[in-house]
Every structure is written in C-alpha cells, then in structure tokens.
C-alpha cells in the first residue's frame, strides 16, 4: 500500500507492505544505500538511523512505525560531510573497510545529542551495539572525543 | 525501480574502467620471438629422448584451449596439426608438456596417415598458471612446436602463500645445521 515517509527532510511516497523493514525501503525503494544490512536481528548496528532524533535499528523497525516521523540516514547527517563526527572521522582516518561506519556514526550522533562530553565509559556502553569486524574501536572512541571538541568550539 | 540517481555516472557507458583508453588487444598466444620454441630443460630432455631432438620450429601445430581456467582440474585441449595426412606427408607423433605439473608429459600420441585427421582432443590437469607446449613430428622427420600461456586461478590465496615463510624456515634450518656441524667438527 502507499505510505509517505520523510527521509532527510524530503518526503517519499512508497508502495510497500506495511510490515516491510524500514531498512530495505530506505535502500531498495528510496535508493539511499548508505544505511547497511548486517544481521537483520538488531544485533550489529550497521542499519542504525535516526527516527525523531533517537537511534533506531531500521532492520527491525516496520516501515509503518516510521510513518509521520522524521527519519535521518547517514546521507542526511550533513550535505557535505561537515558534521563534527564526519570531520573527526575523516581527520583520524577512522574507517577501514567502512561497511559498519554509517551505523557507527549515526549511533555516535545519537550519543552526542544525549551526552555532549561523553567519557570513554559512556562511549563504550552506548556504542556496544555497533560491531566493527575490522576492530577500529580505538579510533572510533578517539573520533567521538574529537567530534565533541569540534562541536564545543 | 528507481534508476541510479543521475549524479552518479551511470556505468553502462564506462565499461571495464579505462578500456576505452586503449585499443582492445586481441589475445595472440605469445609468438615465439626466437626462431625455435625452447622448452625448459626437463621437458626438452624428454623430447630429445622421444623425438631425437628438442629443436622445434614454430608453426604447423596449434593448441586450442581456454586462456583462463577457474581450477586446473580438467582443462579441455585440442592439438591440431596442419597436415594433409597422406602416405607421403603425415604426422607421426604429437606430444604435450606442462612444466608446471609434477608429471610434465600431458599427451603422447602415435598416429599414422590412416587417422585421416591430424587433430586430437583431450582434457588435461594443470597445477598452476604457466605455459603449455605442444610438439609434432612429421613423416619427413621435421619437428614443429607451439606454446600457449594459460591462467589457472582458483584465487590469489591459492598461490603458495607461505612461500616466503618456508624459505625463511629453510634458511634458518640450513644455517643451524651448518653451525651444529661446525661445532661437532671442533
């Protein structure tokens, strides 16, 4: 059936089943492939998006539950990679294979909106849902601290 | 189905990255630059024994086989010799070699004019990427040959990835064996 979704500020009318996972509607129907599929059971964080500013695992979110809400994906974080997290991620060359990094950055953005100056402990517990098989965790931590510094300037 | 957004270059036009930049090279099995096809020493010794000489003139015999095989387990190959196969002028023997294999001889056919056709097909096993050689002896005693480079790739990981480590190990063991021998000699 036809549903209307607001993604990164633009509204899209999509003809999908109500119980379709939001992840695949964003990727296949709307065509924003920055949000990634990693596990399908909300255990790896690669599909993290923002729904009304809160982090959500889009692989286990029904598209019907996101209607009427403001959805933000990695592509919508900033028009030209100038969000403090994107600047910090680039400055520290944080990604290796990069596949999990959209989810890491979106989870980190939700963390920074809750905690302006997170400690290592805050980062560890809040980001524990996001797996990185390349093991870039040290740089992720450093980049979040750096992003907090940039945001505070 | 939403088309690829226009900002990202549609890749139908740009095939194979830079292919357009150069003329499409037709694949010609590397013609023997020299006047003869020179086989590695192990194979030329076998050829010497079989044909009485290992000096092959390029030509008359061709190898028809894929230039790339996913695994070397069973690669189709056809030996073809340009010969009228008459009583006076026919092929007497065809041999095939793969230096990369533990057993170099791939094929060895004795044929006479009654065969009617100087063409033999078979399937061969190949250990790794490298040259395959074919040699033919004609009834007038002349020897002809060709070679063909085939890529056998089940994956880069399959090349002996531990070659450097085994070499280091061998160097260490040799050095120590020497040291022990020297110590024993004193």
């Amino acid at each position: 059936m036809a549903l209307t979704l607001t993604v990164n500020g633009t509204s899209h009318v999509v003809d999908v089943e109500a119980e379709s996972p939001l992840l695949w509607v964003i990727r296949d129907t709307i065509g924003l492939t920055g949000t990634k599929f990693g596990c399908g059971i909300a255990k790896c964080g690669a599909c993290t998006v923002h729904i009304d500013g809160r982090a959500a695992k889009s692989c286990t979110t029904k598209v019907s539950a996101a209607v009427g809400k403001s959805i933000t994906t990695i592509e919508g974080l900033s028009p030209d990679s100038t969000h403090p997290l994107q600047v910090a991620w680039t400055e520290l060359d944080t990604p290796q294979c990069g596949y999990c990094q959209s989810g890491q950055i979106m989870a980190a953005a939700a963390l920074l909106s809750k905690r302006a100056n997170p400690s290592d402990f805050d980062i560890d517990t809040e980001m524990a849902d996001n797996i990185c098989r390349c093991g870039t965790y040290t740089k992720i931590r450093a980049a979040i601290h750096r992003a907090a510094e940039i945001a505070a300037q | 189905m939403a088309m690829i957004d226009s900002t990202r270059r549609s890749f139908v036009t740009r095939i194979g990255g830079g292919a357009g930049a150069m003329a499409l090279l037709t694949v010609v099995p590397h013609p023997a630059s020299a006047e003869t096809i020179d086989l590695p020493e192990r194979e030329s010794a076998i050829l010497e024994a079989a044909f009485g000489s290992s000096v092959l003139t390029p030509g008359k015999i061709s190898l028809d086989m894929p230039i790339l095989a996913e695994t070397g387990l069973s690669v189709p190959v056809t030996f073809k010799v340009d010969s009228p196969m008459t009583e006076a002028d026919h092929v007497t023997r065809i041999m095939g070699f793969a230096p990369g294999n533990p057993e170099p001889v791939l094929a060895d056919y004795q044929i006479g004019p009654r065969a009617g056709l100087a063409e033999v097909s078979t399937r061969i096993r190949l250990a790794r990427t490298g040259f395959v050689y074919a040699a033919a002896k004609l009834s007038d005693g002349t020897l002809w040959g060709t070679k063909f480079s085939i890529i056998v790739t089940l994956g880069a990981c399959v090349e002996d990835i531990f070659d450097l480590d085994w070499q280091r190990d061998a160097e260490r063991r040799a050095m120590r064996a020497e040291a022990r021998a020297a110590a024993a000699a004193e």
């Binding site: 790896c44 994107q86 991620w89 520290l92 596949y99 400690s119 | 830079g18 790339l68 095989a69 089940l154």
Partner: protein, 748 residues
Amino acid sequence: MNIHNVSRRKFIVTSATAAGGMMLGFNLPAQAAQMNANPWELPTDKEGQEVNAWLAIDPDGTVTIRVGQSEMGEGVFTSMPMIVAEELHVDWKMVKAAYASGNRYLRQKAEDYQVAAGILNEDHQVYRRMGTGGSGAVRRSRTFLQQAGASARERLKEAAAQAWGVARADVTAKDSVLSSGNRTGTFAEFATAASTVALDVEPVIKTPDQFNLLGASVARLDTPLKVNGSATYGIDIRLPGMVYAAVRANPVPYGGIDSYDADAIMGLPGVIQVVEIVPGEGQDLRSGLQPAVAVIANSYTRALSALDQMPIKWSATPNDGVNSRDLFADANAALGMPGAISVDEGDTAGAIAGATTVVEGDYQAPYQSHACMEPFNCTVHITDNRADVYGSFQNPPGALAVVAEQLGMDPINVFSHTTFLGGGFGRRSRNDEPRQAAEIARQVGRPVKMVWTREEDMMQNKMRPMAVARFKAGLGPDGMPVGWHARVAGHSITAHIRPERIENGLDNSLLAAVRNHPYNIPNQLVDMHVRNSHIPVHYWRSVNASQNVFMAEQFVDEMAQAGGHDPLDFRLKMVEDLEDWSLVLNTLKEKSGWTTDLPPGTGMGIGISEEFGTVVGQVATVTVSRRGQLTIDKIVAAVDCGHLVNPAIAEGQIESAIVYGLSACLAGEVTISGGQVVENNFDTFKVLRINEMPIIETHWALTGGDKWGGLGEPGLPPVAAAVANAIFYATGKRPREMPIVHTDLSWG
C-alpha cells in the same frame, strides 16, 4: 559460578590525542574524495592519457593510478598508489585511484618495459596479480609498481628532453613538474608524447633509503566516501531493470533438496519466479554449485519474505549426524598415530627419551567463521554475448572465470566490476557467490542481485578449519629443549579445494607457524593428519597460524616453566642467532614492562610468530577475578615487517588483526550439530565489541634490508597465545581450548 569471560580496559579518561598516539594522519580538512564512489570506474569523467597500464594522466594533471588488489579495509587504495607515486614524482594531491580491470588483466600480457627491466616475464599478465590474500599486496607488487612509476617518469622526462632539445639527464621531475634550466612543463603536457617514447634502458627502481613519500602516514584516499555513506559495496549495486534474489541452500552443507512448493508463494506481492540451482553433472563439489532455491522478486524484502513462506523439504544427507564433539574425538584419536612427516631433524624420539624432563601438552581449536560485516551478495547482468558481474571480490579474475565457466562464455566477454568490500578476511576469495549469481541470472534472463541473509552467510560459510595438536618435548639438565615433537590433526584447506596438491597426506599449510617456528632445538619432528569433514573450509585471516600459534606458543611457555626459565628470556635464548626475532623480543621486553612477578589475579603473557615474512610479538596484560571474570587490559605488540609504506595504515592493520584474533579466542566459535552450523547470527556468534576493547600499543622494530613482510594477517596469531599465557600467570590455569570461555578461570 558464573564463568562469564569478558574483557575491558582500565577506565582512565583519555583525550583524543592520548589515545595510543592515534593522531598520525595529516589533519586535512574534510577533503574531496580521491576516487569514484564506484571504485571500478575512473575517478574523473575524462579519459586521461594512459602512459602505461598502471597510470593515466588527465589534461588537468590528475594522475589516476590503477590498483590491482581489492580494498577491504587494508588500505590498498592508498598504499599501492603511494608506491607508484614514489617513483613517478607526482604531486600526491593530484593522485586519484581506481581498480585495475579484471577483464584487461585477462587480455593483456606484461608490458614490455616491465619485461625489459627484468621485473616481469613475458607470460605474466599485465597486472601480474589481482588477488588479495596472504598479506601480499605490498610485498608481491612493490617491484612492478615501482617500475611502472619509474618508467613513466623517465618517459615523461625523455619527452620533455626531446621537446627542449636537451639530454634526459638534464631534466628533473618533481611534484608533477618537469624542468630543465629555466624551462618547465607539466606531466599533463608531455603525457601523450611520453606514452610513445621508447627508452633504450629502463630505470632502476629506488631502494628504501631513497624513499621520501613511502613511510609517510598520508590520509587514506577512500575515507571521505566512507563517512557519508556514498562508497558502493557489492550489496549496494543498483542496475536499471534489476530484480532481487533471496537464496537458501540445505542447512547441511552440500545437502540436496527433496521438494519445494513454488505455487504456494507465486501470488505474494512482487514475486516474479522461483529458480532452482542444480549443480551440473560432474561439477566438482567444492568449487561447483550447491543445490539451492531462490525466490526472485522486485525488491529484496519481498523475495526474502516469500522465501521464508515457501515450504521447502531438504533432503536427508549422510552428514546429518555430524557434530563438533565427535569431530574433536576423531581428531584427538588421530593424535595417537604417526602422521605425514613435515620436519624430521636428528633423533627426536631418542632425545626426548634421554631428556632430564619431559613436557607434554594437548590443545584444540574449533571452526571459526569470517562473519564479514557485509553479508554475501553478487549482481550479474547478462546481455547477448557479454556478462557483467559486480561484487565484493577478493579475486576479480577468479570471479570472472567462474562466471564464464558457469555461463559457458568465453572469459574475454565477461567483465568483473569490483566494489568496496565490507570485509573479506579470505572468505571472498572463494568465488562461490558469483557462480551462484551467474546461474540465477542465466535462468532469470534479467540483471539480478542476489543477497544472502546473515543466517545463510553463517551457515554456508567456508570455515577456518578446526584442529587439535599434541606437543611433546625433552629438556636437558639446563632446562633447554633437546627434542621437540609436534603433531597436528586438522581439517585441511588444500585437501578440500586442491586435493591434487596433497602428496602422501602432507599439507604443510596446515602446519603454518608450527613447521616454521624459529626456535633452535637440535632434534625436531613435525607430523600431521588430515581429518576433513563435510564442512567446507577456506582461507581465514592468518589461515592455520590463527590456531597453531595459540597451541605452539603456549607449549613454549610450558617448556619454559618446566625448565625453570622466564618465558621471554627462554625464547630469546632460542633465537639468539636470529637478528629480527631478537629485536622484536627485546623491543617487547622494554615496551611492555615485562614481568611475571604480579599479584595473583593479574598476569602478563607473551606470544610471538612469523607469517608472510613479518615477525610479530605481543604481550597481553590480563586481570582475572576470583570468580573467573577475565579482563584484557592491554596488548603491546612489536612488529618487524622490514619496511613501512604507510605507518598509520600499518598500525591499523596490527590493531585490526588483534581485535579479530581476540574475537576468535575469547568467546566466538562455530559448532556443528546435526551436520549444520549452530551459531548463525551475532546473537550466538560472539565478536569483540567496543566495550571489550583493550588498550593496544604497536611498536615498530624494523630490520629493513630486503625484508618486505605482509601486514594484514601476521598481527593475529600471537594474541590468543599472549592472552592464554597471561591467564596462566594470573590464575595458574592454562586454557588449552579455544575459545577461552570454555575454561573455568576461577581461582583462589
């Protein structure tokens, strides 16, 4: 007792800069991407004048360097262009990168200047090696990449010299500018002339002491694409008119299909057809197709939900009864019998029999999964006499060959397009997914993207083999070993994928880091057994060394303890005739503050091994509570890979290998029950998360010279041994089994 093993780091507030000296990269502003989001395409829309197969120069001076290896996080899109640029003397900011073409690799032989320079020979392909594995990117490509840069540089200088009527020796090339006296010109101006210039003698490539770009931690070219979601991975491919396939094979690998009811789901939304994948007769089991069924629909989610609802009856298989417990029992039984001999020096049995002390130790390690973050996928588009295959390939020519073979097409007409890889770790060099996608595309007759669910990815994974080992050594009166016997019974990758390579039961790769351990012991015997099951096995990050070092280096500690030696000094004594091993061990001793005199519950442990030409030693510091709670506080690594191309990327690889190794030794494992994989998603298959990340320090102990060691994998094997040995000093208990969570570490 709740023996839950986790790891943690000491919570001291660290500012960004103090995080292990991470701020190595140049602090560039968010720069523009140096490559196309579709990495197989040219970074600029201009064709550029090709000077040789490795580089083309645009009119605006941009130099596009082709990269033969696949980018799966190890930084080849930066390190390989750096090697060419080092010789080319191009302005690094003008360098962009793109993949070399798999199809061109197939059609073109080595270029003349490479053959003339004696770097390649005539039957090598133009890009020589397009597979990524064995940590071989830099060490196996360095020479011909340097030659490509050097020969292009000299041709540009020659073109300018001829234009200015001066000798080539009077022309210098620096930062993309050619100059002689007061005359200057750009690379772009002379590119066309350079492409046809012939040199009588090809330039000699630089030696490390002459490098100026190599050794600098320049920022990665692909990072900008990976922070805004624009980088294209295999799973992201979208082609006009493309349909989607959700695939499922018998959960028991290589099992068949009894029946499936396609009609039951044909009416579901978006469903187009159901495709059955049947292996060709005589098609070889391990590289051919497995029986599977795929639902084709106009979106992946519809294909998958239809597949979930389609009744499928999997055939029974002879392996339905196979389980890990029995496989281990079978392997352990083999340890009792002599195996195929790999090393036999001196009289080992005699030496052990006459020894003052005899030490024995058994160990075991389970199957392990790659679990790349990007689940398996592949897209194939067949037109009349051409096929295009898109995906995350570790071996593009292999993928191309597989598609050509499956479609019965001449490889010349098949084009592979490699995307970014969401992790490879060896799994993506098997090329089973392009074959499956090609078969689906053949039946569907439209461009189709096949995607595996995480469950399918885990259950049809080609595993890191399981293995068991028994060590036995005799120590002399001085506590030093006089005889050392190692016997490994394991599942052999070579026996599985290249059975013809096994001669009288010997597969040396199964003995990686055991056969070539460095210790100077007079009498040595190493033998092995191949005990494969139906579970497919393949290359995994650091291959068999990932379990062999866990076993061998723990046994070295057991020998040290039995002989009354400090484990680090014990090792130093046995490698005192090896400069690189001694340097690594001494660097470790100094940088880690090594001591075995620690309060109960805390311990330091060491593990060291050499793989792909690089020696890596690690010291782990752990704390274990009385209840058995394991905490990994710190890992200090010392590395000798000879030379560094990009230190920041290299350090990232060592850290990455340590984390991947920790995941595989703390709690992650793959067990088999009822013939199939039990851990089929991240709820049951445990991987290290950010809150379990120890502090990691990497120190370079480079011996230079002609040593060019790999970096993607050698950092992994020592970590499991270092942690296990540290646990022994903390608790007195020795975890002989991977993963360590199986051992009750409670003490006191």
